[in-house]
């Protein structure tokens, strides 16, 4: 099989992944986009490994590492998404502007920090059952 086929497929996958990351606002879909990008890289690595007939199989070894890293990233990512859902009751990436830079921001920042303290004190049980 020519090297071109897997490379084109991998470029497509990486492009779709990048698009999903940029266009979607749902945090879980963003994670899926990242996963697509990582798997596109895996395809690249394995294809190059086969093409070079690499005696050390560096490409395959790296692909294994990438799979492990992707799993760790997704595990941690879902934990963070869960944390955000508990504190914000939604996981819309674009709606998170509490920390954003504000003009003449000192009052606004203090307001925000007071608001944070209230938010932190609210009951976690009530939060967990609220639909998004």
């Amino acid at each position: 099989m020519p090297l071109l086929f897997p490379l084109v497929l991998s470029a497509l996958l990486f492009g779709i992944g990048t698009y999903v990351v940029m266009a979607r606002r749902h945090a879980v879909l963003v994670l899926m986009g990242v996963e697509l990008m990582l798997n596109a890289v895996n395809l690249n690595l394995v294809a190059f490994d086969a093409w070079w007939h690499d005696a050390l199989d560096s490409g395959q070894v790296l692909a294994l590492f990438v799979i492990a890293i992707a799993a760790a990233e997704i595990g941690l990512g879902l934990a963070i998404v869960l944390l955000v859902f508990r504190t914000h009751q939604h996981i819309n990436v674009d709606a998170m502007r509490e920390l954003a830079d504000r003009d003449g921001g000192q009052r606004a920042d203090q307001e925000a920090s007071k608001h944070t303290d209230r938010g932190a004190g609210s009951s976690p049980d009530r939060v967990a059952v609220t639909p998004p």
Partner: protein
């Protein structure tokens, strides 16, 4: 089938940290309640052991995990190399990790952060930083970069039920994993074009022109993305202010010092060890990135009144200064100047974050809240003043001035006169906000100050005496910066 001989001494420092990390986690899980200082103590022992182990390595350079030579065109190549440059990075990383570990202890003491998890994550991340500075192949680099990053996401979001912490962690996480995905794409391209992941073999294949040039150039640029993200180079700086503000202050200090130093080490390794034949291609790129980073960082810092946000943008500007020696070509003298600057920056930045952390625990958020700190809390106020003057490069903060002169000289010697001019303008620009902050600290009459007129100590947000560990960090960093200002010689121990 041959077995590989591993030089255990060469990997002892990261192993010390790993052992301490696991011990801290287990001890915290099984120790009786009330022993909140144990994880911190264990991790400090680990950091000290790692420092001693790396001091024992300093006599000559070592290498392990080597590929045997095959033929003339493929010489011996080692994945793990410890030389003077590596050891200097290790010193910076270990000392700052130890200090930041102490800085975080007060929050653990107050029960805001879980001790075992905190120190486990901190030391795991620092292990990644150490591995990054010693790595000489793309796989080790990548795994080290991820070991550095993944625990730091968790560190940012570690405060329970904190809206801002969660938001900061999510922003940091998403930008970081996308940057890593681009780095991986770059690595796969470099591997595809050269057929190897080892530094020496890639450099040989690039130098002989055996590799496909455009592919490898694009691969190189993409590989830099992940490291540029760690250093907060423009255009990868967007996460910095939000994450620093949302994270616990000690973690913000960690991101601005250890994570940045490791990212710089990674950039130096990738550019100098892998792609030195392409110096004409990457040197102008790094120069433009450095100029943009310092200018944007300083301009954005000018209009900040939130103290942590101010320090965040100042750390972006400092990242720009740190890149200048690399733009000048990354010779040994350049790397020495960069490391001298990084050491200075690590000490004074930890000092600044320590004071800000101690003061903001009683509700000070903006520069106005810090007004008159030198009068009310002379030690804290003077230490913060001195740290800011060092960051600005003004006497009596001579150490900052000396470090700035070093990078300035490497820009001039690298024939980057325009970058030297941009650097000078930016240093002047930085004076504006550093001095405004210093002026606020020195102002005699507090206008409206949480610091000067604390609410009664029983109320929430009331004034709290700084924890002993915080004071210790403040005093140690202050003395270190003062001593280096009088005798700047040791700063340049890495210079040939």
């Amino acid at each position: 089938m041959t077995t590989q001989v591993i030089d255990w001494w060469a990997i002892a420092p990261p192993l010390c940290l790993v052992a301490a990390a696991i011990t801290a986690l287990l001890v915290d899980a099984f120790a009786p309640r009330g022993s909140r200082a144990l994880p911190c103590a264990i991790s400090l022992v680990g950091v000290l052991a790692a420092l001693l182990a790396s001091a024992a390595l300093s006599s000559h350079s070592r290498a392990t995990f080597c590929l045997p030579a095959s033929g003339i065109e493929q010489p011996v190549n080692c994945s793990w190399v410890i030389d003077d440059v590596t050891l200097a990075w290790w010193l910076i990383i270990l000392v700052s990790t130890g200090l930041i570990g102490m800085l975080l202890q007060p929050s653990v003491h107050r029960g805001e952060l879980p001790g075992g998890e905190l120190y486990f994550l901190l030391l795991s991340s620092a292990t990644g930083a150490l591995c990054l500075a010693a790595a000489r192949d793309l796989i080790t680099l990548l795994v080290a970069l991820e070991t550095l990053s993944l625990p730091s996401f968790a560190l940012v979001g570690l405060r329970r039920r904190n809206r801002r912490g969660a938001e900061a962690a999510l922003k940091f996480f998403i930008v970081s994993v996308v940057a890593t995905a681009f780095t991986l794409l770059g690595i796969s391209m470099v591997y595809g074009a050269t057929g190897s992941v080892a530094a020496g073999r890639i450099a040989t294949s690039v130098a002989t022109g055996a590799a496909v040039e455009p592919v490898i150039a694009v691969g190189m640029v993409l590989t830099l993305v992940g490291f540029g993200f760690k250093v907060a180079v423009v255009p990868f700086q967007v996460w910095v202010p939000d994450t620093y503000v949302g994270a616990p202050i000690g973690v913000a200090a960690y991101l601005s010092v250890v994570s940045k130093a490791a990212g710089l080490a990674g950039l130096v390794i990738v550019l100098v060890r892998f792609f030195s034949p392409y110096v004409d291609l990457w040197s102008p790129m790094v120069a433009v990135a450095a100029a943009l980073t310092m200018t944007l960082g300083n301009l954005a810092a000018l209009r900040q009144s939130h103290v942590v946000r101010l320090l965040a943008w100042s750390s972006v500007a400092q990242a720009g200064y740190l890149l200048v020696p690399l733009a000048a070509g990354g010779s040994e003298a350049d790397i020495g100047a960069m490391q001298a600057y990084a050491l200075m920056y690590a000490i004074v930045n930890v000092s600044a974050f320590a004071v800000v952390g101690a003061v903001s625990a009683w509700g000070a958020v903006t520069v106005d809240d810090f007004r008159g700190l030198v009068r009310t809390r002379p030690w804290l106020g003077l230490a913060l003043t001195f740290a800011l003057l060092c960051l600005a490069g003004l006497p009596p903060g001579i150490v900052g001035l000396v470090a700035k002169v070093a990078i300035f000289r490497s820009a001039v010697e690298g024939e980057l006169t325009w970058l030297a001019v941009v650097l000078a303008i930016n240093v002047a620009l930085g004076l504006v906000y550093y001095l405004r902050f210093v002026a606020a600290l020195l102002t005699p009459a507090p206008v409206r100050a949480a610091v000067a007129e604390p609410p009664a100590s029983g109320q929430p947000g009331g004034q709290r005496e700084p924890h002993g560990a915080e004071l210790f960090v403040v005093i140690v960093t202050f003395i270190a910066a003062a001593v280096l200002s009088i005798f700047p010689g040791p700063l340049f121990f890495v210079l040939p």
